[in-house]
């Protein structure tokens, strides 16, 4: 039931530029691994800068960009996931609780991937190389869950979340948190 719906900006320009630059840079880093060292390293540094800026923006950014806006307790998160299963999840104007934790998980695995990559140095057989690959694979796994979650939430909430991340706009609902 949507008694009152209006179009509001949820994602500010930086959040959107950050998101899509990260998508592009991550694909480039993945594709250039073991193939083109220069490109792989430059995209890696670029991703680390993006992660740093997003973290800063999570502290002082626009309302729905802030960590305090989308970090919910485990109880709230479980309630949201149960809502997904029953097909009637609670609608959130910003990130839903599951999406919020995914933001944190992705920022952490990207940081770990970048940092371990920088520590490889020239040693292709060392500990850091294995760790770097492990974190990269973990990030890919999380990205797949993220994309799956976005598609699922888009269907259940009947809204195009991918388009929202591009335009920044979402439709507010009376039931919104």
């Amino acid at each position: 039931m949507q008694l009152e719906r209006d179009r509001v900006q949820v994602w500010d320009p930086f959040v959107r530029v950050f998101h899509w630059s990260l998508v592009l840079a991550f694909i480039m880093a993945w594709a250039s691994a073991e193939e083109w060292d220069w490109l792989h390293e430059q995209t890696g540094y670029f991703i680390l800068v993006l992660v740093g800026l997003r973290t800063l923006w999570g502290l002082l950014g626009s309302s729905h960009a802030r960590f305090s806006d989308f970090l919910y307790s485990p109880g709230r998160t479980l309630a949201y996931l149960r809502g997904l299963r029953s097909g009637r999840p609670q609608h959130y104007l910003g990130h839903n609780p599951a999406g919020g934790w995914m933001v944190i998980a992705l920022l952490l695995t990207l940081l770990a991937t970048g940092a371990s990559g920088m520590l490889i140095g020239g040693n292709e057989h060392g500990y850091w190389k294995d760790l770097h690959e492990g974190f990269a694979n973990l990030t890919v796994a999380l990205v797949l869950v993220h994309v799956g979650g976005v598609l699922m939430a888009s269907v259940l909430h009947r809204e195009n979340l991918v388009r929202s991340m591009w335009t920044g706009m979402k439709l507010r609902r009376s039931e919104d948190v």
């Binding site: 320009p13 083109w36 430059q42 670029f46 923006w57 950014g61 626009s62």
Partner: protein, 110 residues
């Protein structure tokens, strides 16, 4: 912080992303392409690098099947990247500093 100030800050962050991208990717890859024979020849004639033919006479390389030989610029130094076939038919990569001729790294593909 006011909404206007925050919106300006958002755009400042966007500019920072773009600037970082430009700084990191400007000029493109510094790698010397494998088919850039002219530059390789020029470097060899100038006596700046060990000729590949000399490198190939080393005991560990003599008589080995070479699949690919490249001269690349990595982290600012010139590196020979050799792809060799060993007796068991496995591919082995060896990296030599092109200036000093020192072995830098070897890896075997499983």
């Amino acid at each position: 912080m006011s909404e206007i100030a925050r919106s300006r800050l958002a755009w400042l962050f966007v500019v920072l992303v773009i600037t970082t991208g430009v700084v990191l990717f400007q000029g493109g890859s510094p790698a010397v392409a494998s088919d850039d024979h002219d530059e390789a020849r020029a470097l060899r004639h100038a006596g700046n690098i060990v000729p590949l033919s000399e490198l190939m006479q080393r005991p560990e390389l003599a008589g080995r099947r070479v699949l690919e030989a490249k001269l690349e610029r990595e982290h600012g130094s010139l590196v020979y990247e050799l792809e060799l076939l060993d007796d068991a038919g496995r591919v082995e990569e060896r990296y030599y500093d092109a200036v000093t001729g020192k072995l830098m790294q070897e890896k075997r593909e499983d």
